[in-house]
């Protein structure tokens, strides 16, 4: 990660930690993140937006950070919103995994931490794979948006694939996270719902599974079987 992005992420973490509304995000100037430097903006790329939204998904999923960042684009399309949502989802899933690991290493039953039981280990391994898949999909999608100069039409293959993959992961990640937490994870007091409820919401926003599956499937049908491979390998990212 570049030094500039490290600084950006540090700022995002500081601003978002404990933020209860969007005001500090606006004050910190995140609306200028994607605005070109010559237009008076920060001149960030989609990778920067992805990094900030990943943090937002992790620590402030209920604040409309994506809308603020996307406002810098001027012309915002539905695929742009879907792309931003994928980054939020990746962050929220990472947080659900972190909370789950922490919980099973701390909570003791039958005289040992839950994490020492193979059944729990296998469940968390499945969850970690889903989180890794969404992280990879989100990062590759961001790389494609940068290669296309934020052109969502040129990146619609990657946006569709990444949103679909993230949507698919929601069921696995939320159910395993809640299962390993037991009753405490179902309480208002405990933090898990702060990421799992947004994940449930985001699955249906800016294109549910059926929407993106149809869009991507039709695009691939036109390419043909061999054409799909040729198209995949010809694309950046």
């Amino acid at each position: 990660m570049s030094a500039a992005r490290e600084m950006l992420c540090d700022t995002a973490r500081a601003v978002l930690a404990g933020a209860s509304d969007i005001a500090p995000v606006e004050e910190a100037g995140f609306a200028l993140l994607l605005v070109a430097e010559e237009g008076g903006g920060f001149g960030g790329d989609w990778g920067d937006a992805h990094a900030v939204l990943h943090i937002a998904g992790m620590s402030a999923p209920n604040i409309p950070v994506a809308a603020v960042i996307l406002s810098g684009l001027g012309d915002v399309s539905m695929p742009h919103r879907a792309a931003a949502t994928v980054s939020l989802m990746a962050g929220a899933m990472g947080q659900a995994l972190a909370l789950s690991i922490d919980h099973v290493n701390t909570r003791q039953q039958f005289g040992r931490p839950l994490g020492k039981f193979q059944a729990v280990q296998q469940s968390l391994a499945v969850m970690a794979c889903e989180v890794a898949a969404v992280d990879a999909a989100a990062a590759a999608m961001a790389a494609r948006l940068d290669a296309s100069g934020f052109d969502a039409d040129a990146a619609v293959f990657e946006i569709a694939a990444a949103k679909l993959r993230a949507n698919r992961a929601v069921g696995v990640v939320t159910s395993i996270a809640h299962q390993v937490h037991g009753a405490i994870g179902f309480t208002e007091e405990y933090d898990l719902h702060r990421v799992t409820i947004p994940l449930m919401r985001w699955r249906g926003e800016h294109g549910n599974d059926a929407h993106w599956a149809q869009a991507l499937g039709r695009q691939v049908a036109v390419l043909g079987g061999r054409g799909l491979w040729e198209s995949l390998t010809a694309r950046a990212g």
Partner: protein
Amino acid sequence: MQSFALYPFDPPGDVAALRADLRGWLAVNQPVDDIVARANCWASFDPDFSRALGAAGYVGMTLPAIYGGGDRHPLERYVVIEELLAAGAPVGAHWIADRQTGPLILRYGSDEQRERYLPGIAKGELYACIGLSEPGAGSDLAAVRTSARETAEGWRINGQKIWTTGAHFSHIMLALVRTEEGSERNAGLSQLLIDLDTPGITIRPIIDMAGNHDFNEVFFDDVLVPHGALVGTRGQGWKQVTAELGLERSGPERYLSSHALLVALIDAAGADPEPAIAGVIGKLTAEMWTLRQLSMSTAAKLAAGEDPMVEASVVKELGNAFEQDMPRRVQAIVDCAWDDKADLARLLRALLIASPSFSLRGGTREVIRGIIARGLGLR
């Protein structure tokens, strides 16, 4: 391993030209075989094709030129093997030698071993098998009992290997054996490179449930191999094998075994598919695309000299689940009888039957998930 940072996949040289050259070569040289052979094609044995591929410079690509290799970057090799797999080329004969035995001999082998074996591997003429599993040592590999005792004449081997893929056509076996009498678990193990025409070796076929002969039982009855058969350091076999498995688990073969079926489904569906089929194609494509990103990132990390043990396991776990699930999802929407003679139907049937092996070979799903759990800090 809490966040899967995407490692940039950035091979040197002109990758587009590398792909184009290989595609052109395949258009001329890939055998016109049955569509079923294009599925799970890294189990398709065709020595003529392997030799031609070697002569064209696509085998042993990362080996040094002094041993007949191509001196190419590991990510250039990655590009070549993903192209071969996506095309369904019959790469089974040389697959193991090219993927892991060659690199392992280069890394741990003696000069004599390198000179003796690497040129044949790079030509696509010398085939290898891996002697790991035994009747009492499957997922629990550290329970290996096959012994090798050092004598004045060399190593004397007694014991048995099982589930040895390709032993019947391979020239050499890289075997994990117990060289220290009385040693237990993962201590006292070493790797020996065994010429399979050595007297005392018996290879018997095991026919799988698809009716294919891929794996074998291999018996060692007082087999004498020279002192020079030892690979790497005596007693360090476990460590060497573990490193080898990293090469084995994250490659594109872990998600492309069923790729021929996706191609056939897309082609059968036509340019304007009905919504149910378009939806399945979209979902399968999204998963395949994601797996490719994960696999490329892990390859890049491996090429940078890191040990992505956990990432490699993630690729294998997700890849196997995908390539195993795909035939079931296709069957759920395509209307064809079990004994239908059409290409799509035969491909589907072959993959439904082959797919249980996908999450067994190269480490069972349960073992792989255990490795991931350890990476998460749970064990």
